[in-house]
Symmetry: C2
Subunit: 171 residues, 2 copies
């Protein structure tokens, strides 16, 4: 969910700017998370706040292409929400608002994604893909740019292309 | 979670009694859910209320035996919570309160449990076990007493016995 269909980046850029008066450029945090910049680790604590996840922007193209994929695949949204009690209702409402065409039966709020059974997983975290039994697609985010062990997708257009190829091959 | 480690029965008996002035006996609802008694289906709507899941009693023996099983197995708590937005925080708090020894990483709030990958699943619903790839254990509840297609466990002592046998066989 986060960094694949929900864009967390802009909010952390805002929080960093509020705190330090500087609008970061990509090169300032490329290779890590914004709160992994020296001295900024306390910014991560905003993740625990009610409302943090409520108003995140939708990743461009994700709604349209998820809907397209639903014609061929059963889509589940899995999110490692359990560290953040206050995120549960926010994430639920966000999904209902922005992805109303996905049934609540297909929402999965978990901690450790090794418990997920599926054919494909699109995720920004290598540790989620490492324990996954299916085919993992690594969605590019600042903290994973140096990873080379997974199929990389940089945006939803590339996800569309990947699955068109899979479908052509009868998968 | 519900009807395996959290006992929903007493609350529905109370709600039925408040509504109809009758304390049901087991034989009145044996073979179905309490809200499947003729005319009582609106009682199911209490599941949507904030607080419904907050104060459910713990199923006898479940805490002690889950803790025992954790010495040999990785335990996940999976619950079909997603129909009930108001249940999310209640269920989270309930688990933290009554099963503090289970890490939040191992909580899974979902809808359709077919997305769960595990070796065993203990559940009161046949439809959850039917789509499960591992070994299903059917935890006896009023609505499943006529089912004969799964290994049945009537209480947590029987779960302990089952897994002791599995462990003796090196599983």
């Amino acid at each position: 969910m986060d960094e694949v269909i929900a864009d967390v980046g802009p909010k952390f850029l805002d929080l960093y700017e509020q705190e330090y008066g500087i609008r970061l450029n990509k090169e300032d945090y490329w290779g890590k998370k914004i709160y992994q910049i020296n001295g900024a680790d306390h910014i991560r604590n905003f993740l625990f706040d009610k409302g943090f996840f409520a108003d995140l922007p939708v990743m461009p193209g994700s709604q349209e292409i998820v809907r397209e994929l639903m014609e061929h695949y059963e889509i589940f949204i899995t999110t490692a929400a359990m560290e953040f009690r206050a995120s549960l209702e926010d994430k639920y409402d966000w999904l209902k608002r922005h992805f109303p065409f996905i049934h609540w039966k297909n929402f999965v709020f978990c901690g450790d994604k090794s418990v997920i059974a599926a054919d494909y997983m699109i995720d920004d975290h290598v540790f989620n893909l490492q324990t996954f039994q299916g085919i993992g697609l690594l969605y590019t985010a600042s903290h994973n740019i140096h990873e080379t062990n997974f199929i990389r997708v940089n945006n939803w257009e590339e996800i569309r292309t990947f699955f068109r190829q899979e479908l052509e091959q009868g998968k």
